[in-house]
Symmetry: C2
Subunit: 537 residues, 2 copies
């Protein structure tokens, strides 16, 4: 059943990728569009920050040199170093635009097979060089940015060369996939088998399987199999202490799950090189509907009823009035619930009808229904969803703070959390920027015991202080989440930016175990230092 | 929302519980029934082994004494010590019947609140006394039996006094429950709230929430939420290094899951005292059906199609021809698939019809359908299921080897595994006993990527050598499972009996992490030594 396809490899960062912002450089908004967008934000700047040329960047000197035997894997090209300095958070983009690249890695390595990963780790451990595992750099939490100070050098290990589907099992609907495969790259290899992973985070085009696994990414399904964790059957992880490979199983009760130790470990314990993933048949039956509600709290109750119904819709995204208006799908203070059902096996119209009936019973009004996955409201929202990171970059060039944070909490705590975020984050924005923020909310995923709310904050920033202003807002947001017993992140990982909230949230004995695990697997302390926890507690 | 009910507490083992065998002593089979049962097994003994009286048992001397301040929590009563010596595997029952109680704990403690657990661990760590966490002692893998040799004494910590539902959240359908609650005890406290955990392992009446969590027990649902893991929102764990309490969340991506470290840790890292559990509304719509197949491989394909359909039946148990005949639900070499659907929210007849249609499309014949959860085949099977442990004890008294082992594997590996078990375990039984074994199989749980097969072995044993004979068979079974890349256990835990298979199955770097976690949380090495892994690697 082995299927060996080998898409073309890149020797360095793909030329079309933006070094400072999201995705494809060619899809960045032109200056005129940036200006037009910012005109919608009262108090915003009227000129776009220029994008520095690579040649103009002052990168720190390279402190270490690639070992001869592995030299062919390394790059110290300024373009590679610049592109591997930051993730893609708002604060990353504005720092890149400002030309601040003091955190640039000394070297970037492009392993082509697992053996290279082993060799690179061996060299780095011996040389005292920190290693930052890098999938496609879509982290929005400082997950790929070196901030510790005591290593001899920093190596960004770009895993995008490990991008093959190595084996497929049609009977068990699974595949063994290399961790560096981008979303479209792995889907293209699965398509001939009639299979799909159906993990579609907003970053889908520019993030990798390994990144999803290391950060417990949230994906396509709004209910049931919400995290990549649920789709994972086995992991192969290269650690400085050896390779850890779990047995591929449909289920097991043999000791604590070894995979669950590495899922969410964010590169601190080892580098995931392969995974056996559970796949889906390609859906042929789809149906979706949009339901509006006059009052947001009523809509929240409707979504709770749906989340507890056992009907498991694939899509169940609730937009609050501000988000609905911003997306152009509803106005007048109404909230919109987008429901979607899909199946490869049986018609789904009855299922959708049950969901819509539940929404109506809870005060909703059906405004659109479609036998496909389309529908005008759905289509409008999805298009905005995929374009969002480019829009965010355009706003960043106008010094408009445009950022998100997301969480999950139990149903009983959500109403107060929602009010507190809008009130208290609003106040912090006012104090930091002197302007009123747009603060919107949508549910990306929902569970029987609570929702995963995703907040968007838009406000005019002060040129030159954009990152510092956001940091103030973010600190307040983390504090509010903690006070309402909401997680510091539902699916964006902890990285470095979420450390204050995570340090308060995690059980301290568990942090001690993570530190012990690190001493065991990464005794030289080279792997992604400062992410998740400090090696010395 | 706090609800504080306090069922009566036991100061010692409940008088009706069997000290040597399963469950309620009054429900043990009378001698005549044991003899009649054994007559169905060619080559079996014709007289029942007597049950030794507690007074006749030669228990080892007590080596440690209870500390004065905690003396009220302790018992050194022979009945308590005998009842806490073994779990409830076949090999435990026959050893108890033989009067071999050399492994009896010195003392049994009955903490009444979490503070007592903390104090008992503090004392034990200082005194060098091993602590065996004990829920209701239903382990079938040596999970509650001390076998290490280097502690100053052994304490069995019986947690059945911590049996309250402390808090319920109707809105989020959840409850905070003490870990010592037996299945019926916690369900009785949830019922007034209209809620149910719906975790019904075969051991339901005589096992506890904490035991389920510590061993990753499998439960009621044949698909989707198969393990107790899936129903767990947060854990509170007392470790010798401090209390670990996770935040109750519907979902999170903040670092590796702390709960997943303790789920399946089998008492080696800490003692689970409370958990926030995800509950269900009590189902009001139920429907079930039985489908027969002429050929087992065809039935397996049908079950795979159902497991991959996204229809998520609550019940989906496939009995192979031998199991169907033994349960009295079908003969003539036919296999039986029992399907069940349930919901608190919507009628389920259509869902059942879709499942039955799938089974028919794959060669099945509908033989019974019921709007409730009954139906004669279903009823017959369920009744046999609940009575099984008592029957097993009756057979054990006739020196008939009657034991099970269970596993999970991917679909592509199942056909060969099934044949290998029947052929090779059959050969080992023949060599060990000189008789033909009855080797049956059923699927207890199924997944899109594979089934969880459960094998039953029945053969006449040699009086006095029953445990040794089973150990030979079990060693062969573990070897066969490993050769076919099937897990050493899907839901019975590793304990001490599964160590040989588990040691081969687990990734070694992960075992090193478990040892590091133990040094961190249990530096004196007192918690359930020898279970899962050895503290020194």
């Amino acid at each position: 059943m082995a299927d060996r396809t080998s898409p073309s490899r890149r020797a360095g960062a793909a030329p079309s990728r933006s070094w400072w912002g999201w995705g494809d450089a060619a899809r960045a908004l032109p200056d005129a569009e940036c200006v037009a967008l910012a005109a919608l934000v009262p108090g915003a700047a009227s000129t776009a920050l220029p994008v520095p040329s690579i040649a103009s960047l002052e990168l720190p000197p390279v402190r270490v040199s690639a070992p001869g035997a592995l030299a062919h894997l390394f790059s110290s090209d300024p373009a590679d170093r610049a592109a591997h300095t930051y993730g893609k958070a708002f604060r990353d983009v504005v720092r890149a635009l400002s030309g601040d690249l003091a955190a640039a890695p000394d070297l970037v390595a492009f392993p082509r097979e697992e053996r290279d990963v082993v060799d690179l780790l061996d060299w780095a451990a011996g040389a005292g060089v920190a290693v930052i595992p890098y999938g496609a750099g879509s982290s929005v939490v400082g997950g790929v940015e070196y901030r510790a100070g005591d290593h001899k050098g920093v190596l960004s290990m770009d895993l995008s060369g490990l991008d093959r589907v190595l084996e497929t099992d049609r009977t068990g609907r699974s595949a063994r996939i290399q961790a560096g495969a981008l979303g479209p790259v792995l889907e293209a290899q699965l398509r001939p088998h009639g299979l799909t992973l159906r993990h579609f985070p907003q970053s889908f085009e520019f993030s990798t399987l390994g990144g999803w696994l290391a950060t417990r990414a949230g994906g396509h399904y709004a209910t049931l199999h919400t995290h990549i964790d649920d789709l994972t059957a086995a992991l192969r992880v290269v650690t400085p202490a050896g390779v850890s490979e779990s047995l591929r199983l449909p289920g097991s009760g043999a000791g604590p799950s070894p995979d669950r130790l590495f899922l969410g470990s964010e590169g601190t314990l080892g580098i995931i090189t392969e995974a056996w993933m559970r796949l889906q048949d390609r859906p042929v039956h789809k149906a979706s509907a949009s339901v509006v509600f006059d009052r947001f709290p009523v809509a929240v109750d409707a979504v709770r009823a749906i989340a507890q119904s056992g009907l498991h819709p694939a899509n169940c995204r609730l937009l609050d009035p501000g988000e609905a208006a911003l997306s152009g799908v509803a106005g007048g203070g109404r909230s919109v619930l987008v429901l979607g059902v899909e199946s490869a096996h049986h018609p789904v119209d009855d299922r959708l009808a049950e969901l819509v009936a539940l929404a109506r019973d809870h005060g909703g009004t059906l405004v659109g229904e479609s036998p496909g996955s389309g529908g005008s409201a759905v289509g409008a929202w999805r298009s905005a969803f995929l374009r969002m990171p480019y829009v965010r970059d355009g706003l960043a060039r106008m010094s408009v703070i445009s950022e998100t944070f997301e969480t999950a909490c139990t149903w009983d705590r959500f109403p107060e959390l929602y009010e507190a975020v809008r009130r208290d984050v609003g106040a912090v924005v006012r104090a930091a920027t002197g302007a009123e923020a747009l603060i919107n909310c949508r549910f990306t995923h929902v569970y029987p015991d609570g929702p995963a709310p995703y907040f968007t904050v838009i406000a005019p920033g002060r040129r030159g202080s954009e990152a510092a202003q956001w940091d103030e807002i973010k600190a307040a947001a983390m504090r509010i989440l903690g006070e309402h017993r909401a997680t510091v992140t539902h699916h964006h990982a902890v990285g470095r930016d979420h450390r204050p909230g995570y340090d308060r949230q995690r059980p301290e004995p568990f942090a001690d175990v993570l530190r012990a695990a690190k001493r065991t697997l990464d005794p030289a302390g080279i792997l992604n230092p400062g992410v998740l926890f400090d090696a010395a507690g």
